[in-house]
Point group: C2
């Protein structure tokens, strides 16, 4: 079974660049990426916050958050 990783973004250019890289780099045999647009899916903001996401783009693997470059603060997406 593939391990699920979460990629949170907000459609910004920095986010798009990071999304391309994440989708390109990940081993597709072992990982499945769920891409969440927090600007459009505001119902997922609480979940992102609980996981520790402070800004987007961010990748969450095994409950560990990796903020990749900086696009926007989570608080600015509310």
């Amino acid at each position: 079974m593939k391990q699920k990783v979460l990629f949170y973004h907000a459609g910004c250019p920095v986010c798009q660049d990071a999304e391309r890289a994440v989708l390109e780099l990940l081993d597709p045999a072992r990982f499945e990426v769920e891409v969440i647009h927090l600007g459009q899916q505001k119902d997922r903001l609480g979940e992102a916050e609980r996981l520790g996401v402070q800004s987007v783009p961010a990748l969450v693997v095994n409950n560990r958050v990796f903020h990749i470059n900086f696009g926007a603060k989570l608080t600015d997406l509310k």
Copy 2:
């Protein structure tokens, strides 16, 4: 032929966490990671700077820099 990606770090806890994630996530069939410890390999600082690395840990793919969380500023490693 595998594509080379560069992972710059400085041995800090944030760096180690990111290194584990990068090495775990990357598709080993397509990518080869060179890990560079800028605290120990100071001769690589100029190269990192030219690539656009501003802080570590950072991953460089196709000349694009992805700063992952924040461990230390490049200028503090000089």
